[in-house]
Amino acid sequence: MIADVRHHLSVAALYGRLSMQRALEYPFSLLSICLGLGFNYVWIGVALKVLVDRFQPLSGWTFSQLAFLYGLSLMSRGVMSILSFQSRQIDRFVTRGEFDLMLLRPLEITFHFSCNRINVVGLVHLGIGTGYFLYGARLSGFVWTPLHVAEVLLVIAGGTLIYWSYLTLISSIAFWTMRSQPLVDASMELMARGTFYPLTVYPWHLQALLTFVLPLGFIGFYPACDFLGQSANTSLPLDVALWTPAVGIAMLVLALTVFAAGLRRYESAGS
């Protein structure tokens, strides 16, 4: 079992190296995507700062607190983006029969599917997210204790699982419908918006939706409330740093179950 896990991780590491090499084969394309993304994220931050500083804090959240929340969400999104390039495109794999070659390898299929292509651009999300988080943490009084660092890492891991599982669940619909890309694109938008602002800016039914149905609140909002002492309207027993990975694992189990059920329906493509 341990040897098997090590083997899978070593394959993933090699895929990572090869993905880097492949991305560097087209440096102009890589540079344009990175610059475009970077500009977009900085612009979002500047616009938010102008909005909050000129008018009023957003539902009681200052710009530095918002940067902390945004950075925390963006770091999970970055890790997810590095690992989920394929998950967003299950419909292409289904309609073009591209699972064939993956099923021919003696590896656990979901793991192989995810690590088969590491998205180098995800490092931009991760880097900018880390920047926002460090900026927000410095200005909003976040205390850097070993326990807090461990909690932040747990939240990032849990948030990544929530993002990845949510995308995989939505994308897996393609096993039944052949197409899921429009829904995946809409979900990416929802994930970006649903994790950007504090949930308290939304009416109560939207807050409930983003807590119990699409638990995006656990990626950034609830942990940020906990770390910064902000009110969340919903009180949760136990530490939020434990809730986020727990929700992530529950969603992962659901996503893996649906993916496996879908894969049994996989019919390849004509040759």
Binding site: L18, Q21, Y26, G97, L104, S271
Partner: protein, 332 residues
């Protein structure tokens, strides 16, 4: 124990029949015309270790579907599939560790990277020990002549070079079984010859079981002792190629050239198992029943009685044989 076994295997796909035009597309949204397509029907056969078997049939006959079920890619609707004694669906990882596959239309090489880097990846995926990898790779490079290509990006390789690269990739982990789906498709004569030599070599030297799907009957003729023919999802022939040819065309042809100026060639020829089909100048075409009289006996008999200058034996065209088999199946 047979390496490959299929027992009453069926595979049914559910397909939606599309209707013509915009109105058809709208109608299809509300009342989709769903149909069952029986891609494979009651297929049974067994292949022993070290056999090199040709698996042929017209397009859409069920060849690829069968190979995909053998590789654990598809689940059969019913029946039993066994590869190296295991179910490819239940023990997929254990089974695929022992098989190699080349799908002529789908590359397993990394398009943007050096050929050698794809092999490094396969080494890691199949857990090939360093020594075994070096030995296997150098053997394959020698047989397939790809040693100089290891540092070439795959996208810069020709179709023939890529196919040789694919074959090496499929054999690096020294699998017991190799599935080849159209490995010579689109290749020139030289590359085809190299690929055939490679297939023969790994079959004889490594005792690799090979199941070869092809539309190129020269592949079958040159490589396969046994032939399995599938049509409309059913196995319609399974046996040695020679026996199949005999059963379809029991006759052979003898082209006899007589000395010119010696009157009508083979005048008065009569034989219980041979007949003259046509005379053209001094050349005569004779059809004979191969199971009743051998070509050498007939030639000796003719040479003793007539002024024969030259003789050649004409084998039946394998394409005609296969066409007859397909046609016979459609009629029945």
């Amino acid at each position: 124990m047979a390496h490959i076994e299929l027992e009453k295997v069926c595979k049914t796909f559910h397909v939606t029949r599309k209707q013509k035009g915009l109105a058809g597309a709208v109608k299809g949204l509300f009342r989709p015309d769903q149909r069952e397509v029986h891609a494979v029907r009651d297929v049974s056969f067994a292949i022993e270790p070290g056999e090199l078997v040709g698996f042929i049939g017209p397009n859409g006959a069920g060849k690829s579907t069968t190979i995909k079920m053998l590789s654990g890619i598809l689940y059969p609707t019913s029946g039993r599939v066994s590869v190296v004694g295991l179910s490819p669906q239940e023990k997929r990882r254990a089974v695929v560790q022992r098989i190699g596959a080349v799908f002529g239309q789908r590359s397993q090489l990394n398009w943007d990277l050096r050929l050698g880097e794809s092999y490094e990846l396969f080494k890691r995926i199949y857990r090939i020990a360093d020594d075994d990898f070096e030995r296997s790779l150098s053997e394959l490079c020698e047989v397939l002549g790809i040693g100089d290509l290891l540092d070439t990006p795959v996208r810069q390789m020709s179709l023939g070079q890529r196919m040789r690269g694919e074959l090496a990739g499929a054999m690096l982990h020294e699998p017991d079984i190799l599935f080849l789906d159209e490995p010579t498709i689109g290749m020139d004569i030289e590359v085809k010859a190299a690929i055939r030599a490679f297939i023969r070599d790994i079959n004889q030297r490594r005792n690799t079981t090979v199941l070869l799907t092809t539309h190129d009957l020269d592949d079958v003729e040159e490589l396969c002792e046994r032939l399995i023919i599938i049509n409309q999802g059913r196995i319609i022939e399974d046996g040695p190629l020679a026996a199949l040819i005999d059963s379809i065309t029991p006759h052979r042809y003898l082209i006899v050239e007589c000395d010119p100026g010696t009157g009508e060639p083979l005048a008065g020829f009569a034989h219980a198992h041979a007949e003259i089909l046509e005379r053209r100048d001094s050349v005569v075409r004779i059809r004979f029943a191969r199971s009743q009289v051998s070509a050498s006996a007939l030639i000796s008999e003719l040479s003793a009685r007539y002024p024969v200058r030259d003789v050649s034996v004409q084998e039946p065209d394998i394409e005609d044989v296969i066409r007859t088999v397909y046609g016979r199946d459609v009629e029945s």
